[in-house]
C-alpha cells in the first residue's frame, strides 16, 4: 500500500509540476514587465 501511495505521489508531482512550470514561466515574463513599469525609473544622469 505504501509503495503504491509513493508511486502515485511521484507521478502526480511530475505531471502537476510540469504543467505549473509552463504556466508560471509564461505568466512570469509578463509580471516582470509590470514590475519594471511599477518601480520608479532611475533618474537621468
Amino acid at each position: 500500500m505504501w509503495a503504491l501511495l509513493w508511486k502515485f505521489v511521484l507521478i502526480f508531482t511530475f505531471v502537476a509540476y510540469t504543467i505549473m512550470f509552463v504556466i508560471v514561466t509564461v505568466g512570469g515574463v509578463g509580471d516582470i514587465k509590470h514590475l519594471f513599469k511599477d518601480l520608479k525609473s532611475p533618474p537621468e544622469e
Binding site: W2, M20, F21, L35
Partner: protein, 501 residues
C-alpha cells in the same frame, strides 16, 4: 568504482562559469532601481502572482533543500516522502484558507517582528527579532557546507581541504549580488533560476529513473535491511509516529511563517495575491522534497547494486551521506547536461542564500537595531542592511567550517527552525485570532522556543525517547502554546483588561 569519478568535464565548467556571471551582472544593473529600504526588502510591494510563485520556488528550492532531501531519501528510502507530502498539504491548506498570511499581508508589515510591535509592544518585537535572527542564522549555518559538498561531489573534487576553498568562493559570489540588488535583483534572478532549476530537476529525474528502472525503484534490495522501507510511521524507517507529528507542526508553522517565504507574501501586490501565491506554490513545496528524495533513493539503489563496497563506507560513516546523491548523478548524467544541472543547482544555492541573507539582515536592522536606537534614517537602514549581510556571511563561513551536525542535515534544519517557529507560530496565531493574547504571554512563548536548541545536543543519539530531537521538537511547540495561554490569562495587557471590563 571510484567514489569521486565523474562525467563532469571542461564543457561543464564553462557552462557553470558563464551561468554564474549572469546573476552578478543582473544584480549590479538593478542596483540603480533601489532607492529605499522598501524597494530593497519587498521590491516596493510590486510582485504579481506568477513572478511571486517563481521567486518563492526559487528561494525555497535551495541547493541545501536538494541536499537534505536527497540525504533523507538516501538514508530512509521512500518513507521520507511523507515530509514532502505533509509540507505540500500544509502550504495548500494555508493558501486555500488564507490562514495567517492573508491577515499578515493586510497589516502591511515588512517583517514578522514588526507585527509583534503592532499587536503587542516594542519589547516583544526586539525579543522576537533576536529569537528569529538566532534561529534563522543557525538554520542556514550549514548551507555553505552542504552546497560546497554538492559541488565537490559533482565535479569529482575529493580532497577535503578543497571544501574551504569552495565555500569561500561560493559565499563571495552570493554576497556581491545580494548586497548590490536587494529584492528587485532577487525577483529577477530567482525567476531565471526557477526556470533552470525546474528543467534541471525534471530532466535529471528522467536519467535517474532510466538508470535504476521504474519497477526496480520500488523494490527493496537485499542489502538494504530494515532501514530502507516505505512506511514512515514505522520506527524501523528511522521516523515513527512522533516524527510525523513533529513534521505536521513544523510544516504548518514554517509554511505560514518562515521569514523568507513570508517575505514573498508580504511583497505580494495584495492580500489576495499572497493567499493565491501559497495555493499555487504548494506544488513547488511538494516537488522540492519529492524529486531530490527520488534522487537520493536512486543513489542508494545504484550503490547497493553496482558498488556495495562504497555503500558500506557510507553506512559505516566513512563518507558523509550528503555525498550520496551528487556522486550518483555525476556518474549517470552525461557531460554537458551535467554542467547545466550543476549550474541549476548552483543557481539554487545563490537564490536561497541571497534571500536568507536579506531576510535575516532585514530582521536585525528593522527589528533589533532600529527600535533600540529609536528609529533610523532610510539611508542608514539600507547601509546597515548591507553591512549585516556581510557579517552574517562571515559567520556562515566560520560555522560551516567548524561545525558538524550530530543529526542528519534535515533534522538539523527542522530543529533550528523550531527555535523560532514554535514561538512565532503561537504568538502570531494568538495575536491574529485571540483577543486575550497578551505581550507577557508572547514573551514567554518566544523565549520558550529556545528550548528547541536541546534537540541539537549529543544526547539525541542515546536512543532514549524523551531525549530524541523529535520529542524535544514536539515538546517545544507544546511548551510555547502553554506559555502563551497561561501568560496571557495571568498577565493580560491593560488595554485588554479595560476591554474585558
Amino acid at each position: 568504482m571510484e567514489l569521486f569519478s565523474t562525467n563532469f568535464g571542461t564543457i561543464d565548467w564553462i557552462i557553470v562559469c558563464v551561468y554564474i556571471c549572469i546573476p552578478l551582472l543582473i544584480g549590479l544593473y538593478l542596483r540603480k532601481y533601489i532607492s529605499s529600504s522598501g524597494d530593497f526588502i519587498v521590491a516596493g510591494r510590486n510582485l504579481r502572482l506568477f513572478l511571486a510563485v517563481a521567486t518563492l520556488t526559487g528561494t525555497e528550492l535551495g541547493l541545501v533543500t536538494i541536499m537534505y532531501s536527497a540525504e533523507a531519501g538516501f538514508i530512509n528510502g521512500f518513507s521520507a516522502f511523507h515530509i514532502g507530502v505533509i509540507e505540500g498539504a500544509a502550504v495548500l491548506a494555508i493558501g486555500l484558507t488564507g490562514f495567517i498570511v492573508y491577515k499578515l499581508r493586510e497589516s502591511k508589515v515588512m517583517t514578522i517582528p514588526e507585527y509583534y510591535e503592532k499587536r503587542y509592544n516594542q519589547k516583544v518585537r526586539v525579543v522576537g527579532g533576536i529569537v528569529l535572527a538566532l534561529g534563522g542564522i543557525l538554520n542556514m549555518g550549514l548551507f555553505l557546507q552542504a552546497g560546497a559538498r554538492f559541488m565537490m561531489g559533482v565535479t569529482g573534487v575529493g580532497n577535503p581541504a578543497m571544501l574551504k576553498i569552495f565555500m569561500t568562493i561560493m559565499l563571495v559570489m552570493v554576497l556581491i549580488y545580494t548586497v548590490a540588488g536587494g529584492m528587485v535583483s532577487l525577483a529577477i534572478n530567482d525567476f531565471l533560476q526557477y526556470i533552470v532549476l525546474s528543467l534541471g530537476l525534471l530532466v535529471g529525474s528522467i536519467f535517474v529513473i532510466r538508470e535504476i528502472g521504474w519497477s526496480t525503484l520500488f523494490t527493496i534490495p537485499e542489502n538494504a535491511e530494515a532501514a530502507f522501507t516505505f512506511n514512515p510511521v514505522s520506527e524501523q524507517s528511522g521516523f515513527g509516529l512522533l516524527y510525523v507529528i513533529f513534521m505536521v507542526m513544523v510544516s504548518l508553522a514554517a509554511g505560514a511563517l518562515w521569514q523568507t517565504a513570508t517575505m514573498r507574501a508580504l511583497a505580494a501586490k495584495s492580500p489576495k495575491v499572497a493567499k493565491n501565491l501559497y495555493a499555487c506554490a504548494s506544488l513547488s513545496f511538494l516537488m522540492r522534497k519529492v524529486i531530490p528524495m527520488l534522487w537520493g533513493v536512486g543513489a542508494f539503489l545504484f550503490l547497493a547494486t553496482k558498488a556495495p563496497q562504497l555503500l558500506e563506507q557510507f553506512q559505516s560513516g566513512g563518507y558523509s551521506t550528503q555525498y550520496g546523491m551528487p556522486v550518483f548523478i555525476s556518474k549517470i548524467i552525461p557531460s554537458g547536461l551535467l554542467g547545466f544541472i550543476a549550474a541549476g543547482m548552483f543557481a539554487a544555492f545563490m537564490s536561497t542564500h541571497d534571500s536568507y541573507l536579506l531576510s535575516w539582515s532585514s530582521v536585525i536592522t528593522q527589528d533589533i537595531i532600529s527600535p533600540l536606537r529609536g528609529g533610523l534614517a532610510d539611508t542608514t537602514r539600507l547601509r546597515i542592511n548591507r553591512i549585516t549581510i556581510v557579517v552574517i556571511g562571515l559567520f556562515l563561513l566560520i560555522w560551516g567550517l567548524w561545525f558538524e551536525a550530530p543529526v542528519s542535515l534535515w533534522n538539523y534544519m527542522a530543529v533550528t527552525g523550531t527555535i523560532y517557529l514554535s514561538g512565532a507560530f503561537t504568538v502570531i496565531v494568538c495575536g491574529l485570532y485571540w483577543k486575550k493574547a497578551s505581550s507577557t504571554g508572547a514573551m514567554i512563548a518566544l523565549i520558550s522556543g529556545l528550548f528547541a536548541i536541546a534537540g541539537l545536543g549529543p544526547w539525541t543519539k542515546t536512543g532514549i525517547w524523551y531525549l530524541s530531537d523529535k520529542f524535544i521538537g514536539v515538546s517545544t511547540f507544546i511548551l510555547c502554546a502553554a506559555g502563551m495561554i497561561i501568560g496571557s490569562l495571568a498577565f493580560p495587557d491593560i488595554a485588554v483588561k479595560k476591554e474585558v471590563q
